[in-house]
Symmetry: C2
Subunit: 378 residues, 2 copies
């Protein structure tokens, strides 16, 4: 329906979303995905509308082979879920127990992960995150207290800070996890979106003896709508995940799994990673330049890829006041405290800001940042 515009419309400020991290539409290969969808439902009678076969709860066999090949793992180690977040919920359900209830996370960390651990009986403890990874002394001190069920890390271009954990810290954390017999979950949704610097090994490649579960996803590289994520773990644990999933939701939709498998076999995953990196690069470099011009002293790390920049800003305003002031200028922020266990503030007089740069035009990013700068420094 056409709406009748008033003769003189009030000019509201454009909204700049420094909030939800939805990929830009041009990063999703919708036409190729549509072609794949059409092909996987082509007769002879497609099995994708039936239940998954009873041995298929680990996931579509072709898809698991493709994921295993990417990770030099065996298909028996691969479990496919409805996005990696849901797999984290299954892991939390399996591994958090009455005697092992502490979950160690980076501080700050992914807000939904923190809430999942709390909901499944975990006490989430944050270890301060520096530009090159967590404070390993603080990590060891926490491990020494016992009761740790899990260490949850996002080692590449972390959400929400953009930090990449250095090799030295990966080695040290891995050794500590082995020493204290604690499972490491490495969540790697952004790993393929590296824009500069050398790729660091996965924790699963370090062979320290630590138990490692690697989580990956197609949401940031091909299609969030497929809702396909995966875990790579010991085969025995992958089977436990499948058994638990079978008891909660059976399996991801076979149709989505078949499409994802075709995305791998047609090379679309790798091709679209290149497309996405090309889309990200100018936004990323412009965002870094803006931040260095206006907030150089507040930037936690210069990200080497991914979607996010994190600022730790000194502010006379409280978080709530800052968000309200920004909103009145058309800048929408996610409350930074959501990324801290128990929604704690990082420190008195300090506010944490997550700045996603992937879904904004760089002019929008600059305008938003300038507005934030004026609010914070006024």
């Amino acid at each position: 329906m056409a709406s009748l515009a008033p003769a003189i419309a009030p000019r509201s400020p454009a909204t700049i979303q420094f909030s939800r991290g939805v990929p830009p539409p041009e990063a999703i290969p919708a036409q190729e995905l549509a072609a794949i969808a059409r092909s996987v439902v082509t007769p002879p009678a497609p099995r994708v509308f039936q239940y998954a076969p009873s041995d298929g709860f680990l996931g579509d066999a072709v898809l698991r082979e493709a994921v295993a090949a990417r990770h030099a793992a065996d298909a028996s180690q691969v479990f496919i879920g409805n996005g990696s977040l849901q797999i984290l919920d299954l892991i939390a359900t399996l591994l958090i127990g009455a005697d092992r209830d502490v979950v160690i996370v980076e501080r700050p960390s992914y807000d939904r992960a923190i809430r999942i651990f709390g909901r499944r009986g975990g006490e989430t403890v944050g270890i301060p995150l520096h530009h090159d990874g967590v404070d390993v002394e603080a990590l060891e001190a926490q491990l020494r207290k016992g009761r740790t069920a899990l260490i949850y890390l996002i080692p590449d271009f972390q959400n929400p800070t953009g930090v990449t954990t250095s090799l030295a810290k990966r080695l040290r954390i891995s050794a500590l996890a082995a020493e204290y017999n604690v499972t490491v979950i490495e969540d790697t949704p952004y790993r393929q979106l590296r824009l500069t610097g050398a790729e660091q090994p996965l924790f699963s490649e370090l062979r320290s003896g630590a138990r490692v579960i690697t989580l990956g996803s197609l949401s940031k590289t091909v299609s969030p709508g497929l809702r396909i994520g995966y875990a790579i773990a010991e085969a025995r644990f992958a089977r436990q995940l499948a058994d638990l999933a079978t008891d909660i939701y059976l399996s991801p939709a076979p149709l989505c799994q078949s499409i994802a498998a075709e995305c791998f076999s047609r090379g679309l995953v790798e091709r679209n990673i290149d497309v996405t990196r090309d889309l990200l690069r100018p936004k990323w470099s412009a965002a870094i330049a803006c931040v260095q011009a206006q907030f150089a002293d507040s930037c936690i790390a210069v990200p080497e890829g991914g979607f996010f920049l994190g600022l730790m800003v000194r502010s006379r305003l409280t978080e709530r006041e800052l968000i309200a002031a920004a909103a009145s200028e058309g800048v929408v922020l996610t409350p930074g405290s959501a990324f801290f266990p128990r929604n704690e503030q990082p420190a008195a007089g300090t506010v944490f800001l997550r700045l996603p740069f992937h879904a904004l035009q760089h002019q929008e990013f600059e305008t938003g940042l300038t507005i934030l700068h004026q609010i914070i420094r006024s």
Copy 2:
């Protein structure tokens, strides 16, 4: 690869699966679903490969309208999930608390539901199930003890017994739920598959004042592979489900939701219900005839539809011995004790058997039943 058969192959008995309830392939309208899948990914650029819109976590708007129309509800009361089982897991997470930890179920009840309640902190209490529903005196005695979070019922053609709860008992249970301020979950995956008798009202239609959550699914009527289920509840609670789902798995795949919405708008859901009932009818009537001939005194109820018949048989063999004996004759059974809280046996010298008839040819059903009869009565 071709296998080299030995010159004289030992003749192993044909396997008869009285176990998993997978619908027969002819009950799934694969070609129409494929056509719908092709249409929903047709350009202009399909949005189904993006995240669901941020206000779409309750589910696809068209699909919710269709479900609401079926249930004379408002779309704001509808929440779409990855199958109804997963919604049950969300409900258990939300409603089972430290002070309200008892979940009342029919005894026997759906095995996966029982395990979900236990996993989310519930103490599951079974109320004996008769041919017309639970023992309402025992239900009231249990409610009087307090601490009840939920009453979970499958009122139509129950899994695993085939029992339909009578109107009189629906009214009484509903009044008790209102009196004791306890939420009723009615799980209705088989409801549309009625083959005889008059449809009973849903608990949600009884207006006793009790809070009711109705769970439904497309798995038994259109396609298990779509993994689309729904809940109808108070709008406020539907929103709570959406918020929790957003924190665990975001949303079901938009592609599957769009296909499901089209299934409703093209009339495929209703058409395929008729197809499925026509497929079921001869299997159902033959199964009832067999059971009445061989196990008339053990049959809990003559089902009026659905997939299942339940037997409570006197047996000198233990459940384990009976399952092993049946397996050696090529008959695969689900352990009946799985349908009882804490895997209890129904009573000394008694074994519960769930007999799905929907996925077997009636000759197979008869052969399987005869084998069971010989084992049990020998």
